[in-house]
Symmetry: C2
Subunit: 325 residues, 2 copies
């Protein structure tokens, strides 16, 4: 397999570039006319750290690499624009396998209106993907960082929690599948293997006046802590209000784990957590605009830290991921 | 070493962000107001593939990772703006070593006016750096791709060739250093370990009307071939005109290699190759504007392919690098 032959085959698969692209993949750099404001983020996935080739197809790995990067654009309320992929290919991976991986990236790119505008291809000891994404908005005010939450704001989360952690349990211990229906098991595995960035929800939350926004990559506990620190506020979360993924409770019990703990510390759900003005908040309408359910899970308070309250007055440890641990 | 502690220490080292940055490192994405046109490129360096920790310091590895990415912006004639670094850290690398690496990146960033605006940090089996850089221009016409060369254009190269390949020979076979002066040996090693992106030269060549521009990462032979293919022209290069690095000839002979072959196929010089209108070409003035010598090495002809002519009528094989070979 030669570098330039493979690059040529990748280019044959590319869709027509988006409207901002003046010069796409194949030159020293891609040239774009952004117009307005850009949001840029990079995310890397490494075999053996973020995924296991025994339980994920190459197309799923490609999908997930782009999805995790796009999730950061969702967390700004940005419109996705371009993606750039640095691919490290281990010796055992052949050309058709590389193209399967690229097809997984391109399918999600097409579904989200993202143009694969460039990349780099090199040898590596294990499969490695670093994906840079560029999103767009007309003005800086349309984008939402982590740092604007104020006491009194409502805390809202999209979709459901714990599905990705439950899916990981199922992949690691297939016998657990007996605890849930086959459809639930498949859905939970998909949450782990092929997360969907909440791009429409991010834009809807930003348009609805979200003052702080973050995606849940490290788990609600950890990411809520990042939002609290950046905003210099405290967060009070009602554990009973958390929208748990279907089948999570049964699966956690079968695995000897506490469902809420799994939902709070599992990570990789790639849902969004937003702080919005509580007054006039219409979650039904917001959910319709976003194309996904929205749940109010708590409030922003003065102070610092994240408190996750259980019904009996107990609190949950808001632990998150550490990618170097 | 914890992910978030290390990230906090990296952020403490960052210089004030550039004028285009609205929101820098630390949120889900960096927010910038580009204004005009952007050129974006990504380059990855992998331990054992692109560098060897036994012969390069961590600061040099960080420098080289940013330099190779910025070289692609030089090859567009773009002004450097922002850099985003995905860093894969092997278990044996501690916090102070990670910071040494980051300091290498930041020193070159400061020297080139580049803002480190974001990144990602994760475990990896070997040290891995994927660097995305964003460059800027006012209009698309100010940027130069590979595809515009026309027959009759002069071929011009910046600086000198073969230095990086000679430096690699010295690192691999230290005894060869006896063939050259200590100062030459050190200079050649620096060419390999700490290449300098030709950013001012790229902008000067673009302003002088360059119709095609490429940086020499894969070796003159390979990269000239990319320019020829993209422009649908042939290139005729006079081997006797090539500006060889000081000490290259002596070193090549001591290593039993042909100096010209090393200069043409060695790669990693990160000089620029440009095709410009031959009429009125003033290389002295251009070199002054660029702050680096310029040499006319051949011409663009109708047809295809790259011919590198030796004085006796023989031709050199224009081989280049394949990063998957």
């Amino acid at each position: 397999m030669g570098e330039f032959e493979l690059l040529a085959k990748v280019r044959e698969r590319l869709a027509a570039p988006g409207p901002r692209i003046v010069l796409g993949s194949g030159d020293d750099a891609a040239v774009t006319v952004p117009g307005g404001v850009t949001a840029t983020s990079v995310d890397a996935l490494v075999e053996g750290v973020h995924f296991d080739r025994a339980s994920a197809t190459l197309a799923q790995i490609g999908h997930k690499a782009l999805a995790t990067a796009l999730s950061d654009l969702a967390a700004m309320g940005a419109e996705p624009g371009e993606a750039y992929v640095a691919l490290g290919v281990p010796p055992a991976l052949g050309e058709s396998e590389c193209l399967e991986l690229v097809d997984g990236i391109l399918a999600l790119a097409a579904a989200t209106g993202t143009t694969l505008a460039g990349g780099d291809l090199t040898r590596a000891p294990v499969l490695t993907l670093a994906v840079t994404v560029v999103g767009h908005a007309e003005t800086p005010a349309q984008l939402v960082g982590r740092g604007g939450a104020v006491p009194g704001d409502a805390l809202v989360v999209t979709g459901e929690l714990g599905g990705a952690a439950a899916g990981l349990l199922l992949l690691e211990q297939p016998a657990l599948a007996a605890a849930v229906s086959p459809a639930s098991a498949e859905r939970l595995r998909q949450r782990q293997l092929q997360p969907l960035p909440r791009l429409a929800a991010g834009r809807a939350l930003a348009a609805a006046g979200a003052r702080a926004l973050i995606d849940l990559s490290d788990g609600l506990g950890g990411d809520a802590g990042h939002l609290a620190t950046a905003s210099a506020v405290g967060l009070r979360i009602d554990a009973a209000a958390l929208p748990l993924a279907d089948g999570l409770a049964e699966l956690a019990v079968a695995a000897g784990q506490e469902p809420l703990q799994l939902a709070v510390s599992g990570g990789e759900d790639y849902e969004l957590l937003a702080a919005l003005p509580a007054q006039g908040l219409d979650l039904v309408r917001l959910g319709e605009a976003a194309g996904i359910g929205m749940t109010r899970i708590g409030e922003v308070v003065a102070g610092e830290g994240v408190e996750i309250r259980l019904p009996g007055g107990r609190t949950l440890e808001p632990a998150g991921f550490d990618h170097l641990a």
